[in-house]
Every structure is written in C-alpha cells, then in structure tokens.
C-alpha cells in the first residue's frame, strides 16, 4: 500500500503494442506495485554484501596478502590463513579476553540498569526526577571523553591493586560498568513502564516483598528484551577500542579490537590481511548467528524503548 517511486511509473502506463498490450500492462503494474521493491531490496543486499564477500575471499586466499585478494577468489581456496591465525598471533587469547570482558560487562550492566530502572519505574521517592534527569545529562558525557582522567586514576589503582589495574580484564570491566547506568536505564525504564502495574500490585497484596516482585515477576516478563539489550551491550563492548587500547598493552591481555588492529599496523599491513580477514570471520560468526536469532526482538525492543524513552 505504501508509497514512493513507483507512482511515476504507473502514471505513464501506456501499453507498447496492441497484441501483448494486456501482458505488458500487467508487467508494468507488477513492476509498479512489487517489482521496484525487489529492485531496491536487491541493490541494498548488494551494497551490504560486497565488503563481506571481499572478507570471505581474503580469508580463503592462499597467498594471504591484500594485494592478491580479488572480490571473488580466483587463485584457489585454502584454509591456511585460519591455521596461521592461531599459530602466529594471540587470537585465541584475544577472543577469550573479549568474550570474558564483553560478556561480563554486558551481563552486569544489564542487571545493574534493570535494578535502577525498576526503582525508577515502580517507586516514587524524593529525587526521582532529579535522578532521571542527571542520568540523561551524564549519558551525554561519554565516558571516553574522560579518558585522560581515567588513565591517571587507573595509574594509581594499578599501583595499589594490580589485580584490577592496567592489563587486566577486571579493571576494564569495572570501567565499562561505570557507563552502564547512563546508557541503559532509560531504555529499561521504558520496558518496565509497559508492564501493567496491576501485576506487581496484586503480588504485593499477596505478601510478596519488593525483591520477589522484581525477581519473580518483572524480570521474567522483560527477559527477551533484557537479552536484546544485553546483546547490544555485548556488541558495543566487543567493538570498543579507545579505552581498551589505552588499558591493554600486553599481548596476552588484549581484546580482539586492540589485538587485530595491531595485526594490520606498519609493514605487516599487506601481508597479514588474509589472517586478519580470517579473524574477522571467526569473530563475526557468533554475533551474526545470535543476531539473526534475536532480530525480531531487536526491532520491537529498540522501537518500544525509543517511543517510551
């Protein structure tokens, strides 16, 4: 029923020849109604896919260099790059570090902001409005703008408690948790607001404590949305580069983003490209799979969060 470019085509519908006038007309109508949509979709898919095809081709390229990689592999196919990836780089370490940091930070940050969002959504207390507004304000000051101060603060922390200082996953994870409330609380509050209040009120009447209402009624109801928020937080954390690069300088402590960028630095840029592409594919597989699986929730989750704030 909707709109756009097709309109012009319908306007000019005059059959070409008398014989297949009807057939031609139908074709044009089909194009005006449906065909152009496929055309747009196909163009979009092409745009989306060509860099990915290039990555796959680079990963399978037996020469492994950027200069020898074509869009479609012509010089044979091999899995050598994948072998080299594990043999010559810290990829396995980086992958585990990334999973640990991003997984831990995503889980904890979703949990922390769910707690806060529950209080903001269901309780009325002094300072609620001020709290919500200051979260909005703090969120506008992205954590990494304070990177200089963070660097200096963590210098002291490293001296006092090396276990949570530079070059440890825990220090970086704690740092990421600092940004948790600012980013997710508003979104989560939106989800909690959509749940009818009668649910928790009746539970309270039945004698449930506030904690029981939260853990046994609210959390299970928003679980799919929590999963989506957690997934997005996970992906954002995996992709975070700035703070991780300042924090992690030891080879075994690096995350994927820091380590894989190092692969393409300086003189290695051309020769390591195949290995790098192989690493990219391995990094992408888990997220792509989960993404396809949760796609539907993502659509509804983001927009309902957006509309409700």
């Amino acid at each position: 029923m909707t709109m756009l470019t097709g309109a012009a085509v319908t306007g000019g519908a005059n059959g070409p020849a008398a014989v297949d006038r009807n057939a031609g007309k139908r074709k044009k109508r089909w194009f005006a109604e449906v065909g152009w949509r496929h055309l747009v979709g196909l163009l979009g898919v092409l745009f989306s896919l060509f860099p990915l095809v290039f990555v796959v081709s680079a990963a399978l390229n037996p020469l492994g260099t950027l200069s020898s990689t074509e869009l479609v592999p012509t010089g044979g196919v091999s899995l050598e790059n994948f072998g080299n990836l594990f043999a010559h780089t810290g990829f396995a370490d980086w992958f585990l570090n990334s999973l640990l940091i991003a997984g831990g930070a995503a889980f904890a940050s979703v949990f922390l902001s769910a707690l806060a969002a529950y209080a903001f959504s269901r309780m009325r207390f002094q300072g609620r409005r001020v709290g919500l507004l200051s979260l909005l304000l703090i969120q506008m000051f992205p954590q990494f703008l304070a990177i200089v101060a963070i660097f200096l603060i963590f210098g002291t922390i490293t001296d006092l408690w090396p276990a949570i200082g530079f070059n440890t996953p825990w220090g970086l994870m704690l740092l990421y948790l600092g940004g948790a409330l600012g980013v997710n609380t508003w979104l989560m509050k939106g989800f909690f607001d959509t749940l009818p209040r009668e649910l928790d009120e009746s539970a309270t009447v039945d004698g449930a404590s506030h904690a029981q209402v939260f853990f046994r009624i609210m959390l299970p109801l928003v679980a799919p949305i929590l999963a989506v928020t957690g997934l997005l937080a996970f992906i954002n954390t995996i992709n975070e580069f700035l703070m991780a690069s300042v924090f992690l300088t030891d080879t075994d402590a690096k995350t994927l983003a820091v380590g894989m960028r190092g692969m393409l630095q300086g003189g290695e840029r051309n020769t390591n490209f195949g290995i790098f592409a192989a690493g990219t594919l391995l990094t992408a597989i888990p997220t792509v799979l989960v993404f396809q699986f949760l796609q539907r929730y993502i659509v509804s989750g983001l927009t309902s969060g957006a509309v409700k704030g």
Partner: protein
C-alpha cells in the same frame, strides 16, 4: 564494589498472609516493607554482604600500606553505608539504585570531575608533579660522572613482572656486605641477611624482589638508564647493566633566588609560577616543570591562538557535517529500503532482511579496518575494481566522502531495522484513508507516514547523532585523521574533535592533558546543547519522564 541486593527467593509465605492494602499510599508502603523474610532471601543477603566485606578488607590492605588515609576512609564509609542500607528495612528505592550508582560515581562521575579540574591546569608531559618533584628531577637528571665517583656493583630487580614491573637498584657498598635498595624515591638499606651477595659483590637474590637476569635486564636497558636514585651527595645512575656510580648534580636549586644554577656554565633559570617552569633570561625553559593552575587559558587558547583556532573551527564544522551526514544518510537509506520492503504483496522480506542487516552484526572495528584497506591506493579493492589509482585518504574531500560512505554502510542496517519496526506500528487504516481521499503515494508519505516515523524515531536519531559526533572508531580506525596539512600535524581534514583530543593526550608528541581536557569539555557542552534543544523540539521529554 559488588552488587548486593535484598534477596530473591521463592515465595514461601502463605497467600493472603500479607496485610491488605488500605488505600493510603503510606500504609501500602509499610505493608511492602514488612513482607516476610524468606530463607533464600536471607541467605543471598548474607552471602552478598559477606562478599562486600571480603572485597573491602582485600582493598584495605594496600591502602594502609600506602598510607592513603583518605582512600581508606572512603572505603570504610562506603562499606558501612552498604551494610546499613541492606540490613535495614527502609530506603527501598536506594537498595535498587545504589549498586549501579556506585560504579557510576567511581568510574564516570569522578573521572568527569577530574577532567573538569584538569582543564584548568597545564598538566601534561613536563608538568606532571609538584615543584619539588621538578627540582629533584632537574637535579638528578643533571648528574654526571666526575673523577672520583664511587662505583658500585649493581643488580636490577623488581617486585612485579620482570618485563613490566617498576625497577629498583640493588647495590652493595664496596668492601662490605651492606645491601641497599634504591628507586626514584631514594636509597634505603636492606636488612642484613635479606639479600644474598655473590662473588664480586653483585646481589643475586633478595627477599621480596625478583632479580633480573642479563636477558631481562638488557630488554629493559632504557628503563635502567633512565632510573636515577637521588642520594645526599648527588644521585646514583647505572653505567651499563652491572655497575652503578654515584655522580654529582651539575644543576642545583637555590632557595634564595628561587632558581636553578648550572655550576658548569653558570647559567640560571628562575622559577615562573605562572607557567610552572624554570625560565632563563633568554627565554629557555627547563624541560621539567610542575603543574600549576592556568585558569581559563586552555579555553581561551582554542579561541585566540591562531595556530589552534583556525584548524579547530574547521574540525568543528567537519565534525557537525560528519555527524549530520552519517545520521541523515543512514536514516534516509534505511528508511527507503524499509519502505520498499514494507508491503503485504512483497515476498521474501525475511530473506532480504537477513542479508541486509549483516553489516550491523559484523564486528565494526574489524570492518572499519577492512574498509580502510579497500580504499588502499596501491592494492585496495575499490581502485582494483574500477581500475583507478586514487589516493582516497590523500585528499580532503575524497577522504571525507570515504569515511561517510563507510559510516553509511555500517549504520544503515540499524536504521532499516528500527524504521521497519516503526512502520509496522503505523496503523494501516491511516494510509488507506489517505488513498481513499485521493492522495498520491508521495502525498500520503509526506503527510502521514514520514511524520509518524519521525515522532517514533527522533529519540533514536538524536542519540545516533550524539554517537556519531564522537565516533572515535570511524575515524581512528580508517583515516586516523588524515590527510594532514603540511604545516599542522595535529589536526587533519577528517579529524573529529574526539580524535583530535586523543592525539593531544596520547599522540606521541608531548602529552597536553590539560588542553585535551579543555577540548573534552567543549565537546560535552556541544553535545549537551544539541541534544537538549532537539529533545525539547521533539517534545519527547514530557512523555519520557511522565
């Protein structure tokens, strides 16, 4: 530190046992507070509070050892407050808000305030510590080996990892077994018997220290050369990896004139409290200065210093163009495709959708690097495919177009997803009604669909703008700010304010933390104003915190 909360647990109380609401909100709150305590809830509470206590004790020891009493007081008060909060029955909202808030304060609010205070200082390389630190550094770095300097057998050791830990010197007084340990803070004797001295007087082992072997030491020879241990008569420095000498400081501070004198050349440098450095009559500054408050000069520098203000303004304009271009471009492209696929007669939309959102699911840091190499002049895919040899990142406009194109690719699937979601939420009757009324598709799009889409998506557009305004990765992982004008290596044509700030602070040249912090505050002000104005204009605010 951890995340205590009052306990979850199975509902074990009989239904109906809880007091019935009597209408007034006050009674209902008391009723809530007095819900029965469950065993599981209690257990969770005990375990979590025990964890808090354990972490607090673990954290306290280094604080005591380092004599950081303020830090210890904060730790004790925080822990006590947590116990008070979670053992009591009152302050229910606080129980939910405190865990996240603690992290927020420790790792976001404090750094932000620290940034704000740094912005008013000249903090950076050469201006790190106090004036006394600067004097010690000046004196000890001027230490020279003079005839008759005492020589010591030297071992290098560390308390931490041999490859990264802070180094100390272990030296033996010639002819005796007295071992001393020295670092930048000075020289202290070790307890007799705490160290083993090998033949030749070299220390081979010491309690609590790892003595570096030759390989480890030579890997850190630069750190060893840089380590200067101040002593009463001058300072200790290494000479090679196994000898140290006690030399004399050529430059000395004189309190009378508040200046530093060089006894070789007789030149003097007088302290200047305004700039935090010792300055000679001919204007020469000593490299080691100290941190002073410089008031607003970091902020006014941006506006008045011509070498900075011109490029800064250009960077600011490009920063807006980039944020608007990326947000607008991804939104328009994403919306067009969403509109095209949004039709009851369309088949295969799921397949399209699956393929279209792939860029969003890929790790963006890696794809940015892939795009960077696709734009490579000599062997990049883009030049190969079209038979060109354009140096994409070498010219201002092609580099800018390239980074926006990359952002478009990375960002449009997200806009496509949310636009699809919003389109499905628009009641079909609305658009059908317009077509019954004889509106063309374009009219119905302009009058009905687009406004509704914008209402639903404007908060996302605003946050997307704020994100792109500070999209560090998009620039740093592709062009790194290039191309740079020949006369200005500190901001390039594609630099955003955030990459510019990063270069000021960590860019290899002398770090200017104070100035970088001032720019951070500028960025914050800009993003805050833009977001506040647009939130107000879309009137989402009332709805949001209703």
């Amino acid at each position: 530190m951890s995340t205590p909360l009052s306990g979850p647990g199975p509902a074990q109380q009989a239904p109906g046992r809880g007091p019935v609401r009597t209408g007034s909100p006050r009674t209902s709150r008391t009723a809530r507070n007095h819900a029965p305590i469950t065993a599981a809830g209690l257990a969770a509470k005990v375990i979590l509070l025990g964890l808090v206590a354990g972490i607090a004790i673990w954290a306290a020891f280094p604080l005591v050892a380092a004599e950081k009493w303020v830090g210890l007081a904060v730790l004790v008060l925080t822990t006590a407050a947590l116990f008070y909060l979670y053992l009591g029955r009152r302050h229910v909202p606080a129980k939910y808000l405190i865990p996240g808030t603690l992290f927020l304060i420790a790792f976001q609010v404090v750094p932000v305030l620290y940034t704000a205070s740094t912005a008013f200082t000249n903090f950076g390389d050469g201006h790190r510590g106090s004036k006394d630190d600067a004097i010690v550094a000046i004196q000890s770095s001027s230490v020279k080996q003079v005839p008759g300097s005492t020589q010591y057998p030297l071992s290098v050791a560390t308390k931490g990892d041999p490859a990264t830990g802070a180094l100390v010197f272990l030296i033996t007084k010639p002819g005796t077994d007295t071992v001393s340990v020295g670092d930048a803070g000075g020289l202290r004797p070790l307890d007799p018997g705490a160290a083993t001295v090998g033949p030749g007087g070299k220390v081979t082992a010491a309690d609590g220290y790892t003595v570096l072997n030759f390989g480890q030491a030579s890997a850190r020879s630069k750190d060893i050369t840089d380590l200067v241990v101040p002593t009463a008569g001058g300072a200790l420095r290494s000479s090679g990896l196994s000898r140290a000498y006690e030399g004399k400081a050529v430059r000395a501070y004189e309190a009378g004139c508040d200046c530093v004198k060089d006894s070789d050349s007789g030149k003097t440098w007088t302290a200047d409290g305004e700039v935090g450095a010792f300055v000679a009559a001919d204007g020469e500054r000593l490299a080691q200065g100290w941190k002073v408050n410089v008031g607003l000069s970091n902020f006014t520098r941006v506006l008045t210093d011509e070498r900075i203000s011109g490029p800064f303004l250009a960077t600011l304009i490009w920063n807006f163009a980039f944020a608007i271009g990326s947000t607008g471009g991804t939104f328009i492209l994403g919306m067009l495709i969403a509109l095209a696929l949004h039709s009851p007669r369309m088949r295969g939309t799921n397949l399209y959708r699956m393929l279209l959102i792939l860029p969003y699911a890929m790790p963006s840091f890696a794809m940015l690097l892939v795009w960077r190499d696709m734009f490579n002049t000599d062997f990049g895919l883009i030049n190969n495919l079209f038979g060109l040899s354009v140096d994409w990142f070498g010219q201002d406009w092609s580099a800018r177009a390239a980074v926006i194109l990359v952002q478009l690719w990375l960002g449009y699937p997200y806009m496509f997803l949310v636009a699809t979601g919003a389109l499905q939420a628009i009641p079909r009757e609305l658009t059908e009604a317009t077509s019954v009324d004889g509106a063309s598709r374009w009219q119905s799009f302009r009058a009905v669909t687009l406004p509704l889409l914008l209402v639903a998506l404007s908060p996302l557009l605003i946050s997307s703008f704020a994100f792109n305004f500070n999209n560090f990765n998009a620039i740093y992982l592709t062009t790194e700010g290039a191309p740079f004008p020949a006369d200005n290596p500190s901001n390039g044509a594609t630099d955003l304010l955030i990459t510019y700030t990063y270069r000021l602070a960590f860019g290899g040249q002398a770090a200017q933390f104070g100035f970088a912090a001032a720019i951070s505050l500028f960025i914050f002000a800009i993003v805050a104003v833009v977001s506040a104005v647009s939130f107000r204009r879309t009137r989402q605010q009332e709805e949001v915190y209703a």
